[in-house]
Structures are given as structure tokens and as C-alpha cells.
Symmetry: C2
Subunit: 414 residues, 2 copies
């Protein structure tokens, strides 16, 4: 059952009520781990306030849930804990976002549909949508995630993997796609940094409280992200990065984004799990291959071999092609009338996407970026120039400046 977006009959929509809802949800996230399906069902039936009441009264049929909650309560009073957490959140200058807020990223509701046939492990069963999300940063959550791609991978990244992740993060951010990752060392950090370097938006989804992001070795990175992006978490401030929380967190990364790109993963790497989550909720699941001599690409290659729906991508143009197919829910809203570029053939479109938002690039570099041969590239560049979508300069081609073209409101054409 889906989480009701409206209060149940008889409840008001007052600020007090929303606070009550927030507190109830916080208490629920403290009593059980995020993703717990039985709690999700309870909230769906009774609303968060009603669900909490019943849980604390022991009035729930699920014995395992009752037991877990009883054990947790030995550590404190859930309502007191929730109140303290809310106060702590406000002191941090952070906030908690719940499904009842406009700011809630609706796409995460797809986790209700996530079904892993034959799932035996708890982590594969307890994949319900989030109850609440803590946020540090200046952007509205739904807006930040409206055009977002996840870039994930191994902590022990090779220089190759780090390079690819950085480039991808940079290119995505340049084109106004939010780069989402887990803030970990290696591929995650590289992707975040690439986005930051492009002056774009990046979101780190943590497995601990947003007050002390883990790992500490990335703290200056997290500081930069808070300034211009978002740190988010399903756990309250002060929550520890317990081992199992990294896997739980991964489902949010997959569900919050239009698609997930796995850049590098060793055999049986945990990083492949995020991609499997994306597959399970029918999001584009993209994998970057690497040298077959590299142990760091074994997991990535395994995924490509074993899952027919995984998509091999070699760079930004392929990624954009994949997420560009997303249906109405996540596609950027139509901001302008149909553009000449909507009528382009695939190769011309790839080249247009390969051009940097600012500055020029020569045809050889463009050809390599778009994965095309030089002869086709030159031919299509001439076409794009005819359409006034690009201009030729001394050192290469550049996106055409809008004043030279029919007016459009699409900022990606700037």
C-alpha cells in the first residue's frame, strides 16, 4: 500500500500535525531499519502517527517486528529520541523531509515495486521506500533529484576507474544532471569531484547521520558538497555507519535517480548491488567495461555477462542516451517548443551531446567522445553547423550561443 500523501480522514493539515507526522516518522526510523516492509505496510494502513501508536502498543501481527521494536525500546523512549533528533537536526541547520512534503522525491515510491524473485537474504527483502530523508544543503530535494544520475563503483578504484568516474561526473553536471553517489572513497568520490569541478550539483547519499558524514577521510569533499549540493540520509544525526546500512542505503541511490552507472567493481563487489537495485525497479542499469586484465573490472563484466538488461556504456553520450529514454516521470519538463535538435539523427545527437557547454573541442576529440569515426563526425558537424546548433571556431567547434539562434528557454543550450 502506498504511503498516503494526504493526512487520514479527521486529521488536520496544520503545522502541528505535520510536526507530529515528522516526529512519528523519525521514531519509526529509529525503531527499525529503513526499508522494513512490515513497517511500510503499517504506515500505509494507518499513517505514520497511527502506525507508531500501534507499534508501541504491541498491536501489530508481525511477531518479528514486535520483537525487534521491543528490543530497541530498551535503548530509550522512541518519542523522546525523535524529539531530540528533530531538535538536533534543526541545530545543524539541516531538515527532515517526509512524503507529506512537497519536497519529497516521488520517484522513490518505485521501491514499492521492487521485487527480487527468490530473495532469501534480509537485505533483498526489506527494500521498502524511505520513511523519511534527512537533508543538509540549500536545494529542494525533489528538484535536485529531478534530473539525476547515480555514478557508483568500487572503493579501491584504479586510476582508470577514477578517471572515468570523474569525467562522467563532470560531463553530467555540465549538462545540468545532478550526480548522485555514496560519498565513499574511490569511484563515488571521483564522481562527486567531477560534478563539483563543473560547478554542478551533486548529492551524497550517506549510510550514517548527515552530521558526521562517513568516511572521515572525505570530510573536505563533504564540506564542498554541503555548500553547493546536498548530503542526504535515512538515518538521524548521530547514527553510525554500521556495515549493513551501506547496502540499505544503496536502494535509495538507485530509486532516487533516472539511472545508475557502475564504473568499476571487483568480483562480488558491494557496488554491484546498487546496479541490481536499479535493474529490479526497471531503471537504466549502465556498466562501464574495463581491461579484462584488471581485477577491478571483474564485477562489472560479470554483470554485463549475466544480466541482459544491463547496458554497456563508454561515456557521457551513451549515458545520456539511456536516461533520455525515461518516461514522463523523470524526464525534464518540456521547456520550449520542439527544437531543431529534437529532429537530429542519432549520430548528430551524440555529437551535439559530446560538445562542452562552454568552450571549443576539435573534431578528433569530439569523435572520440561520441564514439564515432572521424569521417562521419565531420559530416555531421557540417550538418549541425548548417542548423545553427554549433559554430566553428579556429580551434574547434562550440555550442552556438542562443542570441545567434531562435530564442529558447532551455538552459542546456547555453
Amino acid at each position: 500500500m502506498s504511503t498516503p500523501l494526504q493526512p487520514a480522514v479527521g486529521e488536520s493539515t496544520s503545522t502541528d500535525h505535520l510536526t507530529e507526522v515528522r516526529l512519528a516518522r523519525i521514531a519509526l526510523t529509529w525503531l527499525t531499519e529503513p526499508g522494513t516492509r512490515s513497517v511500510h505496510r503499517l504506515v500505509g494502513a494507518y499513517g505514520p502517527v497511527g502506525a507508531l501508536d500501534r507499534l508501541l502498543a504491541g498491536d501489530v501481527p508481525d511477531r518479528r517486528l514486535r520483537t525487534a521494536v521491543a528490543a530497541r525500546r530498551a535503548a530509550g523512549d522512541p518519542r523522546d529520541v525523535a524529539a531530540a533528533a528533530l531538535a538536533h537536526t534543526e541545530r545543524l541547520g539541516a531538515r527532515i523531509v517526509v512524503p507529506e512534503d512537497d519536497e519529497w522525491p516521488q520517484q522513490v515510491r518505485d521501491l514499492e515495486l521492487l521485487s527480487l524473485p527468490g530473495a532469501e537474504r534480509t537485505i533483498d527483502q526489506e527494500t521498502a521506500p524511505p520513511l523519511a530523508i534527512w537533508v543538509r544543503g540549500q536545494h529542494l530535494l525533489a528538484e535536485a533529484l529531478s534530473r539525476a544520475v547515480a555514478v557508483v563503483g568500487a572503493r579501491a578504484a584504479s586510476p582508470y576507474g577514477a578517471h572515468v568516474a570523474t569525467e562522467l561526473g563532470y560531463g553530467l553536471a555540465e549538462r545540468d544532471w545532478t550526480v548522485v553517489s555514496g560519498g565513499a572513497h574511490g569511484i563515488d568520490a571521483a564522481a562527486h569531484r567531477g560534478a563539483l569541478n563543473a560547478g554542478g550539483l551533486t548529492v551524497a547519499v550517506l549510510a550514517c547521520g548527515v552530521d558526521r558524514p562517513y568516511p572521515a577521510g572525505n570530510s573536505s569533499l563533504f564540506d564542498r558538497i554541503v555548500e553547493t549540493g546536498l548530503l542526504v540520509s535515512e538515518w538521524m544525526p548521530g547514527a553510525e555507519p554500521l556495515r549493513h546500512r551501506f547496502l540499505i542505503r544503496n536502494r535509495l541511490i538507485a530509486a532516487a535517480t533516472a539511472g545508475t552507472v557502475l564504473v568499476e567493481a571487483a568480483a562480488r563487489s558491494g557496488a554491484t548491488q546498487t546496479l541490481r537495485r536499479a535493474l529490479a525497479i526497471n531503471r537504466p542499469a549502465m556498466v562501464v567495461p574495463g581491461p579484462v586484465t584488471s581485477a577491478m573490472s571483474v564485477g562489472a563484466h560479470e554483470l554485463l555477462r549475466e544480466h541482459p538488461r544491463t547496458r554497456l556504456v563508454t561515456g557521457l553520450p551513451h549515458v545520456l542516451e539511456e536516461v533520455g529514454r525515461i518516461g514522463a516521470d523523470l524526464a525534464p519538463p518540456a521547456r520550449a517548443p520542439r527544437q531543431p535538435r529534437d529532429l537530429l539523427d542519432d549520430e548528430s545527437a551524440l555529437l551535439l551531446e559530446a560538445l562542452p557547454r562552454r568552450g571549443t573541442l576539435d573534431p578528433d576529440a569530439l569523435a572520440a567522445r561520441a564514439g564515432l569515426d572521424v569521417r562521419t563526425t565531420l559530416r555531421k558537424l557540417a550538418l549541425l553547423e548548417d542548423l545553427d546548433l554549433i559554430v566553428r571556431r579556429d580551434d574547434g567547434y562550440a555550442i552556438s550561443v542562443p542570441s545567434a539562434r531562435p530564442t529558447t528557454a532551455d538552459p542546456t543550450l547555453l
Copy 2:
């Protein structure tokens, strides 16, 4: 219509007749390029001798064929040319093999089935089976090709690609698979050399006569191949390596083998064509990925992205897995009762395949070769040891020597 394996009614099976058939076929290969479908149909209807008679009499409905033949005849008398070519062949210590011989590799008949929908270019239409194959070397052609895998790729191979091709050639040969390639610089040469280094069998399919193999830069390699393997060609001795012949030759590489592996290819590389031929005749079409930063892997990645039936492989175990699925035609004949190894789970089977035929390998190297994590590897190695399929030594594991196991006639277990 298929090439008749028996002489037409009324013709004898004498040596004279076979010679007449050989000469007719040689003449036909001189009059038109290999793969020409109209000639193939003619031979199917009238036999090679009858077909040649009709062609030379102008008694064929296909106007384009008549014109081509007429133009060719300006360069000489086809029957004289054929006689000279046969004599030249014998002087070389080479031979010409035709479908009427026991030595003919039957699997190339699958080229009759090759159909490329919407094919517009001549090279994609004229893909009929060979009329005849010239051979230099001591092995019977059909036998040499009964367990064969093609390993192909770019001429401008990177060190990575050359390494992978060499390893693959070595590993295949070690397991009694014939390594087939085109004798070109780069990937082809690396694959041939790998096979030779393993003391195995390799076959080079040339785009010119077997007397002066091209490229000349590989002549010492070709000498080694003649000694222990085979040089083959659909063109008579003295034939030049004209540009279009390389693409014509590729269909034979694909059709003669149980599967084709593309190791490395730049964008729009000709090397990808062999793989497309394999796809078109439903042979395993395998591709080795590489760094996405390498221009030399762009073509390989394109294939993996665009053709759902291509299979990503990272090394020998994957290749063996793919060609091991071939049906009765090309699978090694059952030589022994069901072995314990036939009952192995996939991972144990991969590890068993990853072991060298001779010598030992340590668990880490085995894990990397098989694409498994070390923990699983150790577990499965213990199982294989229990089954007496492998033995543990000081420096690693080795295939168990047959005298220590139930007798089997399967030489791959030696």
C-alpha cells in the same frame, strides 16, 4: 541449393573425374570472386563441371555474371589457368581441397544460410560457401577445424589487446582447440603466436595465395604455421591480397570455426565484420571489452552495445563456456562415459577450465583467470580435489594425472 557431395548421375567417381572437378572449381574461383551466390547456385544445379561449361558457353541467365566472366576471360583461358594453378599447387607441396573430398570442413556449408537482411553492399550479399580451399600444411583440413575458435581483431593492436590475444591463443591451444585467424599484424599475429607457443595447432586464413602469404612482415610467423599448422586460402597461388579479398575471406574464418572472438577493434574497424558474419550464421560471437579510454576498443564496445547476441568474454573460461554449447555438428565427439566433471556446478567447471593442462597454478591466479573471488575459489578447489579432478602441490593446483583416476579416453583430461 547445396553443393552436391556426390558426382551427378552418370559421372564416375574415378580419380580422373575428381581431377576434372578440381580443375573446374579452380577455374570457377578464377572467373569470379569467392562467395558469389550466382555461381554457387549454378554449381548446385549442374555440378562444378557442368557449371563451368555453361559459364564458358554464356549459357547462364545472370547477366551480371556473364559480363564479369566475359571480362575475366580477356585475361586468359580459364581451363589453362586452372591447369597451371593445379600444377603450381603441387610444386609448392600444397593441395586443393574441394567439397567432394572427405577432407572438406562441412561446417562452412552454413554460409548458405547466411542472410543479412537489407544487405545493400556486394560484400554483404555475396557470401556463399567456398568453392575450393587451398591448403599448405600437414593436417587434414576438416580435422584441424573440428575444434576451432577464431580470434580476430585490429591490426593496430594495443599492448593490452596483443596480450589478451596471445593469452587466449595459448590457452585455447593448450586445450586442443585450433586457433584460427587471418595472419594479419596485431591481434591475429598475437593469437597465432600464442597457439604456437603452447605447441598447439593454428590455421591462418589468407586473402591471397598460400605461396606468398601476406603481410610479408609476418613471413617467419607463416613459416612456423606451415610447419605445425595450416595456411589456407580460397585464392590460387600467386593471387594478390587485393583489398576486397580481406572482407571476403572473413566469412570463411567465421564459418570454419565454432565461434569467433573479437579482441580489439577501433570504430568501424574491418575486424568487426568477421564477428558480424559469425552472428549471421548463429555462431557464438564473443567480444573482449577494454578501457573505454582506448580508441582501440571503441568498435568492440559498439558491437556489444548494438547486438544483443554478442557475448562479453573476459578470457578463456568464458570462451570455452560459449563454444561448449555448440550442437552435435561441431562438438567433440563423446569419447568417454559421463565424467564427474560433467556434473560440476558452473563455478567449479570454470575453475577446472582455468587450470593449465600442464604445470600448477596458485589459487589467486586461478581466481583471476576464472573471474571468481578467492573465497569461492578455495571452496571449489577443495571440491575438485575431493573429486580427484585436481591435485594440490606445493606451489598450487594441477589437473590430476589420469593414472590416478578412472580411465578415460578424453585427451583433454591429460
